[in-house]
Symmetry: C3
Subunit: 362 residues, 3 copies
Amino acid sequence: MSWLKNAWYVAGFQNELDDAKVVARTFLGVPVVMMRHSDGRITALEDMCPHRLMPLSAGKRVGDELECAYHGMRFGVTGICTLAPGQTHIPTQACVRNYPLVQRHGLLWIWMGKPELAAPELVPDIRWNDHPAWTPSRGYHHVEASFQLSVDNLMDLGHESWVHLRTIGQDDEEVIPNYPVKVTVKGEGLLHAHREMPNIDAPPFFAMLLEHQGKINRWQTAVGLAPSICMTDFGVYPVGSSPDGAYRSHVLHLLTPETEKTTHYFWSVARNKRLGDEALTQAVCKAIEQTFDEDAVVLKIQQSQMEKFGGPVPRVALKVDEAPIRARRMLEALVKKESEDPNFVYRPQLMIDDTTPELAMV
Amino acid sequence: MSWLKNAWYVAGFQNELDDAKVVARTFLGVPVVMMRHSDGRITALEDMCPHRLMPLSAGKRVGDELECAYHGMRFGVTGICTLAPGQTHIPTQACVRNYPLVQRHGLLWIWMGKPELAAPELVPDIRWNDHPAWTPSRGYHHVEASFQLSVDNLMDLGHESWVHLRTIGQDDEEVIPNYPVKVTVKGEGLLHAHREMPNIDAPPFFAMLLEHQGKINRWQTAVGLAPSICMTDFGVYPVGSSPDGAYRSHVLHLLTPETEKTTHYFWSVARNKRLGDEALTQAVCKAIEQTFDEDAVVLKIQQSQMEKFGGPVPRVALKVDEAPIRARRMLEALVKKESEDPNFVYRPQLMIDDTTPELAMV
Amino acid sequence: MSWLKNAWYVAGFQNELDDAKVVARTFLGVPVVMMRHSDGRITALEDMCPHRLMPLSAGKRVGDELECAYHGMRFGVTGICTLAPGQTHIPTQACVRNYPLVQRHGLLWIWMGKPELAAPELVPDIRWNDHPAWTPSRGYHHVEASFQLSVDNLMDLGHESWVHLRTIGQDDEEVIPNYPVKVTVKGEGLLHAHREMPNIDAPPFFAMLLEHQGKINRWQTAVGLAPSICMTDFGVYPVGSSPDGAYRSHVLHLLTPETEKTTHYFWSVARNKRLGDEALTQAVCKAIEQTFDEDAVVLKIQQSQMEKFGGPVPRVALKVDEAPIRARRMLEALVKKESEDPNFVYRPQLMIDDTTPELAMV
């Protein structure tokens, strides 16, 4: 399947451009270089000199311009060439492409499609990464698999008992997939997969969060927002206490295709409790890093097996594939619309309504 | 040339499956996982979960079943899925292919062709690996070349003076190829190439075996059995003594194509003297390892040159190529029969008749 | 573009074949093995046994013959097989190709085209590498880019200020490309690009050569000789002194395509001053090595970007590309002539006339 082009993709964390840093990264197969200007504006340029293809990021920043490391050509904010050493006339073709880049919710967002359609209000609302009521633990994984395998993995609530046995899974007689999942289409490009696990032993990660060793109630909702953002909303609270006081996290999985076979995976785990507890912030970072390492191994194997033996996955669909398959279909429908109408833009909805948590458990 | 499919190939040594071990190996391009069950039966399954292509060998063994590392699907002896977590109905396509696997002569044998043709009596008779009158020294090499280059190399009795100068070759004024070789077709798929070298200085390896430094008589017979088993029958004895008392070895070269460009090379050097001498068993292992390392280097270069510069080998045929070329033709004839009749099975003959050693020397 | 075949290419330094050494190198995609015979003659043979493709250079030299490491076949001076162990008749096809090889100006020159056209008087005159009035500093770089990118880079006098800032470039308000370059076609396959830089601060490398820290006059002439030899003629002298006493160097860039994507870069920096100063010879070697390392990095990136993103370079032509583009056109014209007439041979002219240095500066 091809990529949805007219959409905002996460390009990085906002603070990565602090201290006049120049960040080079490939999105949807295109090498891009990003920087913040002295007036605060941010830009994303094609990371390739139009002369002899040198990455501009291999050169140096001179004020608000990028200077090529080979012949000293300089490029300004909009990608226009401002200096071609040895000549006064600058050829009009000597410019690089300029991609819309905005910052929102503590993140950088890039638009690789038609620039004139890049309305900032189309940026998905993932407020939890940058909101006073939530404290985030953030990180990044480079995944050696397509973004679709990553989305499959995040929407599938069934692999925890095996892949994450040592972290968020539980080694119980009652394996996680045996708790029923309810999959609901919430609107165009938006899907929820919800599961409740009442009265279970707390897996190690949740025991740490709750500082509680006894039985807990747990719910999880996997939210899929086309083209490639997922969120795992989970809540845990001791059996007998009120769900209103649950420790709740919004785990943001911000995926951006790098190439057909690799994916940028920015993540942010926002919690609603112990907000100022910096040690907990670090502990969550560490635990999540380990958990996503476990995913990355499985995804890389899956990608390499697909390349070696061909064909799409799943070959045989199981119940755990219900949400992944529906998420794929949602995206396919959007890609089809875009291919039929290059001016089609898709308006992402709010991923979850925090005021009505899906808590039916007692 | 394509592979002969309806044939037993060596899949490993029998004891590799001891202690509930799970062994993963690729044969004829197909990844396979092998294990021995609690009731003693052995099985070979396709090493790939039908769900998301994970190698089953990356999961764990649970009793007599294999559990996938991703979603916990379990597969039993015959390849049928016995458990799909989260659901009671198991899709009928959720099974993996099951390959006939038998043990014979201390080895595991696998059948990658039509399963219904896999009669155990078609396993080649290589009794010497596992017979009280013979003591084997065993080992394994992974060869980065096609099995055909390996067979060529084993049937060609002419490269010793150069490739194996430091081990079994001899640095003489009379190089080995100058001793005539007699090539004989012994039946369908069976070839002998025989040479006698009377009254020669003992090369280092043979001096060690005989514990004798003077002149020796030596014979060697390269036996080729389609599709890919070779045996070097050699005998050495001091000049003046009787050939009946010769130190004799059956060097079994058990080749199985892994991919088009790589080969499993199981070997077993069975001897008829000093049977209980464990130090000698080890010394032979070490010497043969070194000798076959020398072959592996040459084969890898040859394979890579063929890929780089194209075309079959030999480009120019020499006399040393007589047996290799006839062995190839024998195999081609069998492959042609199989391609014309998918139910064709080939019945391997006894490789050599020990009771009448080909000893004409005095 | 394809290679010009009927031309002498530099194959190495003459002394590389001393002490009976056997040198293996690939030219224009063909593996070649070179040696000097006991009678002083030198030969270049195809480095591949006609039997099973083994590189002859992997075998050993036996007198004036090469012996294959696999079956001991031997090949003599002209590439004819002189010995095929195990047989008296040697097949006529059992020979390897023989390439004309001559030594001139301290270098080895090979002819990969039609052998009958290989007249030694067609060897380019690069006398400065081996002439009593000049002292060379020599070296070799393996460049991971096509020879054309290397030629482009050498004919382009505009990249010094960026690529070679720490060596021969100058970090001035007046960057090098701002000094005008005059490009002149000097005859078939011969191009000059000349620049003068009067009254400049001496870059580090030139200050070392002149043992002078003040203002200098500098000129440089990039000479391009099809198919792939370049020379940078540069001169420097203190402002106020006579140009006749200038420290002058002929930097010979002797490029030979190895493959479509890699290049042999033999170099020799001949100077006209301090001829016996061995410490200076070494210092120049070291400085040039570092300078060409800087080029190699840029060329490798450019090659890999071209492979990744396609298309020829430059995408947009600048003034600095005038000489590179004209050099390419000169070579294209020769290649076209050769493709139309396989017997066409091109006669390289003298690269520069030392008696009339292009010194207009005061």
